[in-house]
């Protein structure tokens, strides 16, 4: 398969652009692999790519029950940021941010990473104090952060309600200028193609139905396309983490599955050139390159495996939106959808070994999984290949809940629906 380049496009211009090949193969499963990754979403594909690229493994399979990128990697609001306060999260997500900055070159696929910045709005003095604290923590960890005054926010976001009638007046905001958005599908496709070029077998329509575990050690998996042997199996299945782990005998995890909705408007002319989050309710917005305003809100709030939302949360999110930027009142929504989030008990992820030897878990992403895709794959690949975590993910263990080493960024306690 050839590398994508401007020269390829020019050459194709002479032949009607008919020389393009499919971006990845559709191989039959082999009997045995050095490592199997369950889940062909962003994290699984990234893991396979880094296993092949950085850890010298050549026989790797990715098993996807449906089609590639049909889960949360195609259902998020495409936001990338690393504005975390706690030490473990900050270093992990900042490593991810650095991978994002090089990603299109690295995987030879334009992921349309746009560092348009992200602004978290504050609506009270107390919130400004909290943002100053978070911004300082970020800067001490080498992450860019700017505390904006109300007037500075107004320069970036002139469409907000600055009148005396605003229900929650804007006091200021915390900006991460290097944050932004990326084309979510391109991330899945790009990692798939890059992994495939390194020899990774991507097996679609290949659902895992069981694990072969003997003497506490994984020997392989059963799938709808037959049994596959491997001494190393990584699970990266987001909202289905509890289900897949139960097949391996890991019942009862510190995870609940909830659904999170997002929605997009009809295409508009350029309206907002940064990512903006409302600080007094559940609403955030950015504008896609196609022109649609992409809105996100909060969880519906109850356990769910349904990849569709209920209307009360749509109404709630848009009420928040109207309170913040009344100008959106006349635009129409085109689509709304939901993804199943693996909400962990402290709001932070799990990238870890498990009690079963050779079985590794990547989950608990809550609704921060997309931005973590490169860092998650990078760390999970290290964990799978070396049988121990990297320094960047050694805090994200499965047993931290029992030991009491929680990483609770919001400080809300073990209530998954609140993270």
């Amino acid at each position: 398969m050839s590398r994508y380049s401007a020269l390829e496009v020019l050459k194709g211009g002479l032949t009607g652009q008919k020389h393009w090949q499919r971006a990845w193969r559709d191989p039959e499963p082999k009997q045995e692999y050095d490592a199997i990754i369950i889940g062909g979403g962003g994290h699984g594909l990234a893991t396979a790519y880094y296993l092949a690229k950085l850890h010298g493994m050549s026989r790797i399979a990715v098993c996807e029950k449906g089609y590639l990128g049909g889960g949360n990697v195609g259902r998020n609001t495409t936001i990338v940021r690393s504005n975390y306060m706690l030490e473990d999260n900050a270093h992990f997500y900042e490593h991810g941010m650095k991978l994002w900055e090089e990603l299109s070159q690295d995987i030879n696929f334009n992921v349309m990473f746009s560092q348009r910045g992200i602004i978290n709005l504050a609506h009270s003095d107390a919130q400004m104090d909290a943002f100053a604290r978070r911004g300082n923590a970020m800067r001490l960890n080498g992450i860019d952060a700017e505390l904006l005054t109300r007037d500075q926010v107004k320069e970036h976001l002139p469409m907000l309600d600055y009148s005396g009638k605003a229900r929650f007046p804007v006091y200021g905001g915390l900006q991460q200028p290097r944050g932004g958005t990326a084309r979510h599908d391109a991330v899945a496709w790009g990692y798939a193609r890059a992994a495939d070029m390194l020899g990774v077998d991507i097996l679609q329509n290949c659902e895992v139905t069981g694990f072969d575990i003997h003497d506490g050690k994984v020997q392989g998996i059963q799938t709808t396309r037959g049994a596959i042997k491997s001494g190393k199996v990584g699970i990266a299945v987001a909202g289905n983490t509890s289900r897949v782990c139960a097949l391996a005998g890991l019942n009862r995890l510190p995870i609940e599955s909830h659904k999170l909705q997002a929605m997009v408007s009809e295409p508009l002319k350029p309206f907002i050139d940064t990512v903006c989050t409302f600080g007094a309710g559940h609403f955030y917005v950015s504008q896609s390159d196609k022109g649609g305003l992409v809105f996100g809100g909060d969880l519906d709030g109850y356990n769910s495996y349904a990849q569709r939302g209920n209307l009360p949360m749509v109404a709630h999110v848009l009420q928040c939106g109207m309170a913040l930027m009344p100008a959106i009142g006349r635009i129409r929504l085109l689509r709304h959808w939901a993804g199943v989030m693996d909400m962990s008990m402290d709001g932070s992820p799990i990238i870890s070994t498990t009690p079963v030897k050779g079985l590794y878990l990547n989950g608990g992403w809550c609704y921060g999984g997309f931005k973590a895709t490169p860092a998650s794959g990078w760390c999970f690949a290290h964990t799978v290949a070396q049988d121990r975590p990297h320094r960047l993910n050694e805090a994200f263990t499965l047993d931290r809940f029992e030991r009491g080493y929680l990483i609770d960024e919001k400080g809300v306690g073990p209530i998954p629906a609140l993270h």
């Binding site: 599955s257 495996y305 073990p414």
Partner: protein, 92 residues
């Protein structure tokens, strides 16, 4: 839209309720025999099933009673509702 049949008020829209989590999760109590492991499991571990799930809802914008709901987490179908201190069926 989920509609929940409150044992006191009848069928009501979900927006009148707040969610109270997994109803299989039973507080281990304060007796001296209760181990740390029991508290850990109560606080952090969940079955998280895809299918019928027993859960608490609070009719906070209605009669303010806690109720127990058996609901399918994949289809959102409400299968049964009872007062929070009553069993839903023969099996729990």
């Amino acid at each position: 839209m989920i509609r929940i049949n409150c044992p006191w008020c009848g069928e009501r829209n979900m927006v009148e309720f707040t969610y109270g989590g997994d109803a299989n999760n039973v507080y281990p109590g304060l007796s001296e025999e209760t181990s740390e492991k029991q508290y850990f499991e109560y606080t952090y571990l969940r079955d998280n099933p895809c299918g019928p799930h027993l859960e608490y809802w609070h009719h906070v914008n209605g009669c303010r009673q806690w109720i127990k709901v058996k609901r399918d987490t994949l289809t959102h179908e409400v299968i049964a509702t009872v007062p929070a201190d009553k069993p839903v069926g023969e099996k729990e």
